[in-house]
Symmetry: C2
Subunit: 235 residues, 2 copies
């Protein structure tokens, strides 16, 4: 019964927040007049209220109200009663830390598996995978676990960037980092470029957007997955 969009990024260069996704969000949240926003990835600069307001302004364009999960004393009940859920981006370590410490990871997973429409962007997408271990973020806080929602049977790398072959910088490329992950972990990793998203519909997982995605698996060369592919057929 899964019904989710896991997007690489909330925002494309030069466009307003979520604007490229609005036609999809209208379909995903078609029976919703109000959704719950999870603002916990944001590490400061703006408050949970301000971050929720930004999400609210985007969803106002498709006539959906947004309430921040931080507003509820009983957060598990709020998730259970939500008609739709959106987790925004920021720092994945902070988001995962908060979800585990508030005991929200499993309730959130259960709601998504039961069919509550879910949108993730960036860190909110990263947690859709089995673990957060292919995040690009800095470990600014020590979470109780790296395990995440596991609503898809692999890991994700949002904001995937191709190696810059002209670079003289000796830091690792994204590709090198993901290959390092695969030396001690077994789940595949999908590098989702900005503008791409996964559409999770029951057991199907379609790659959407105009770009291909980069797929990394143990013991095989990385390869390009064309857009509109169904990932259940290749993993």
């Amino acid at each position: 019964m899964k019904n989710a969009i896991l997007a690489s990024t909330s925002t494309l260069h030069g466009q307003p927040y979520l604007s490229y996704l609005l036609p999809e969000l209208q379909k995903l949240f078609k029976n919703c007049t109000e959704i719950i926003f999870i603002p916990f990835a944001r590490p400061g600069g703006i408050s949970h209220e301000e971050y929720t307001k930004i999400a609210g302004e985007a969803f106002k364009k498709i006539n959906i109200k947004v309430k921040g999960l931080h507003e509820f004393d009983d957060k598990i009940k709020a998730l259970k009663e939500a008609k739709g859920i959106f987790t925004g981006g920021g720092n994945t370590f902070l988001l995962v830390d908060k979800l585990h410490r508030f005991n929200l990871m499993m309730p959130l997973r259960e709601q998504i598996i039961a069919g509550t429409p879910y949108l993730g962007t960036s860190a909110g997408t990263n947690i859709g995978g089995l673990t957060m271990q292919t995040t690009n973020d800095m470990p600014i806080i020590y979470p109780p676990s790296f395990k995440t929602l596991g609503i898809i049977p692999f890991n994700l790398n949002p904001h995937y960037l191709d190696p810059d072959i002209d670079s003289t910088h000796k830091g690792e490329t994204r590709e090198t980092r993901i290959k390092e992950f695969l030396t001690i972990n077994t789940q595949p990793v999908i590098g989702l470029r900005e503008g791409s998203w996964l559409e999770v519909k029951n057991e199907d997982i379609f790659l959407r957007g105009t770009l291909s995605a980069r797929v990394f698996t143990v013991g095989k060369d990385a390869f390009e997955l064309p857009t509109n592919s169904n990932l259940v057929h290749i993993l």
Copy 2:
């Protein structure tokens, strides 16, 4: 009694491993005929033996032998008896995981504080700070703790990269990530550009190399620290 070099990178573009640092290493390890190499950051591709051999070939040019710590059954004893120690780069999560699980973090710290000459590059430099929380690496393994050697009273970001103002990519810049760290942590962070290193001499900490470093502290604008500055005077 500290006597250490913490270098942003082992290798500069187009040069052999460690070659830009050899004149400094000759001074640092002037009383050593043999040093211990800690290869644990390397996540596969090459073995601990092969990685140690690479370090050995560089040190051969200054007539120093290199033995890998993985070769010793009693690793704590090996550290205690070492005339010099070098920790190479790779994945910081893996390095910190191994150092904690083998109970080597505190013995290594004690040796460095007692005056054993120490070289770190990249991940081996990152662990010189208070915590590994300003690493650029992917969390490919869940270490027992993010705490590190703390031989300097702040955190480091090796391979520091300035923001690319022409970029259309929406992932966070290095600067943004470090500022996120400072929203929930208090220690200063030094962004060490490639080709820069810290020379730790007793209580003094000099920035060396031709470049300035970027300094991030809570509640103040980031600023450039000129090369050859003594960091104890500014932090």
